[in-house]
């Protein structure tokens, strides 16, 4: 009830200006509902399962907006691996004995979150519509325009995203890979020392 009201209040202007389709609208409602339910469910297992559904909905939204690389990552990491990790974590914990299905709502926290949503929503009309040819990212596209125009000729990669990641911004990607490796090794050292002696 509150979810639907919030969605329509937040999205009234942008939805009209963007010309949002019913499919997109239902995806947004699905993601918002699963997000709220993740916070509300008292049973952690139920929360994790709904959180996986939330990630899957996000992945579909990314794919819908022509960002399949991000969608793939969200589906594999968000919906898949993170769910498994969270399940493993709660397998080591105990369930609190309670019959309540939903968490007690913390109204001050809801107020703060609502305030934050209002602040973000105020900035929404300043955004250009999705795919608007007059948006600044396309009219004054010094960097991204260069990638789109030259990525194939200079790198031979049909996927410009990969060309940016591995060639134009290869140094950043190298740093990211090192961060992933260092974080993984640090985690293994911290909580796996007696069983994970490599």
């Amino acid at each position: 009830m509150s979810v639907a009201a919030g969605a329509s209040a937040v999205g009234l202007l942008p939805i009209q200006s963007v010309g949002i389709t019913p499919v997109e609208a239902s995806l947004f409602v699905f993601v918002l509902t699963t997000a709220v339910l993740t916070a509300l469910f008292r049973d952690v297992l139920a929360s994790i399962v709904i959180f996986a559904a939330y990630s899957l909905g996000l992945a579909v939204i990314y794919t819908f907006y022509r960002a399949p690389d991000v969608g793939l990552t969200e589906a594999a990491i968000g919906a898949g691996v993170t769910t498994v990790f969270l399940l493993l974590t709660i397998a080591k914990t105990t369930r609190p004995a309670s019959d309540a299905r939903f968490e007690a709502i913390n109204w001050p926290a809801v107020g703060i979150c609502g305030l934050f949503v209002v602040v973000v929503a105020v900035t929404l009309p300043a955004f250009p519509a999705v795919g608007d040819p007059a948006s600044p990212i396309l009219t004054t596209a010094d960097v991204s325009g260069y990638y789109i125009a030259n990525a194939y000729d200079e790198t031979g990669a049909e996927n410009a995203v990969t060309a940016v990641l591995a060639a134009y911004r290869g140094f950043d990607t190298f740093g990211e890979a090192i961060v992933v490796f260092a974080a993984g090794v640090a985690s293994l050292l911290v909580f796996g020392r007696e069983v994970f002696t490599a």
Binding site: G80, L88, A163, L165, E194
Partner: protein, 198 residues
């Protein structure tokens, strides 16, 4: 996970007695049927990162998720023994080494860090490739040998480290005991306390 509430009421200390891994014919059959396709998809995404959506990160996550599914279906400890911790950590380390090697060799040849075209004067005639094709195959090498290895290795390592202790085996317990006996660090206090509890 869905233990009836009667379990929680009995006994003062709430400990999960149900084994997390139970051999399920349904899960094993499903995983057996799904694994070849997921692995193929993961390899496809990894190898076609320059030509289609995806890349080393997404593909590596999918390849790691194959191991996660196998562990869920056939037991975490047996999967860990099959893969060996050394291999998992070695995979991530090898990824960093390959990425750094590909990035540093151009510097030795007098070019910049990660400048793939520096390979052209050396290998161009041998491999019969044009200059821009070295960028493409350099990116492929970084995606496959670098990022995919790192991501797959780190995700598998995190999974095994998180899963450690979920399914206790005699093997790991005896290892922990010998550790506690030989080492005189703070860990001995913890294991002693655990033994008192049990």
């Amino acid at each position: 996970m869905s233990s009836d509430p009667a379990d929680n009421d009995t006994g003062g200390t709430i400990t999960r007695q149900r084994p997390v891994y139970t051999e399920s014919q349904v899960i094993m059959t499903t995983v057996k049927a799904v694994i070849p396709f997921v692995l193929t998809y993961g390899l496809f995404i990894t190898f076609h990162g320059t030509g289609s959506p995806g890349g080393g990160f997404q593909g590596g996550a999918l390849i790691a998720s194959v191991v996660l599914m196998m562990a869920f279906a056939f037991g975490i400890e047996s999967t860990r023994e099959w893969l060996s911790n050394r291999l998992v950590v070695g995979l991530a380390t090898l990824g960093v080494a390959i990425f750094a090697g590909i990035a540093l060799v151009p510097m030795a040849l007098g070019a910049n860090f990660l400048e793939y075209t520096a390979y052209y004067p050396v290998l161009g005639d041998i491999l019969g490739l044009k200059e821009y094709e070295f960028v493409k195959y350099g990116m492929e090498a970084v995606e496959i040998g670098g990022i995919a290895f790192i991501v797959a290795g780190v995700l598998m390592g995190l999974f095994f480290a998180l899963a450690a202790g979920v399914t206790p085996s005699d093997d790991t317990e005896s290892a922990a005991d010998t550790d506690a006996a030989s080492n005189t660090d703070t860990m001995t206090g913890d294991t002693a306390a655990e033994e008192v509890n049990t």
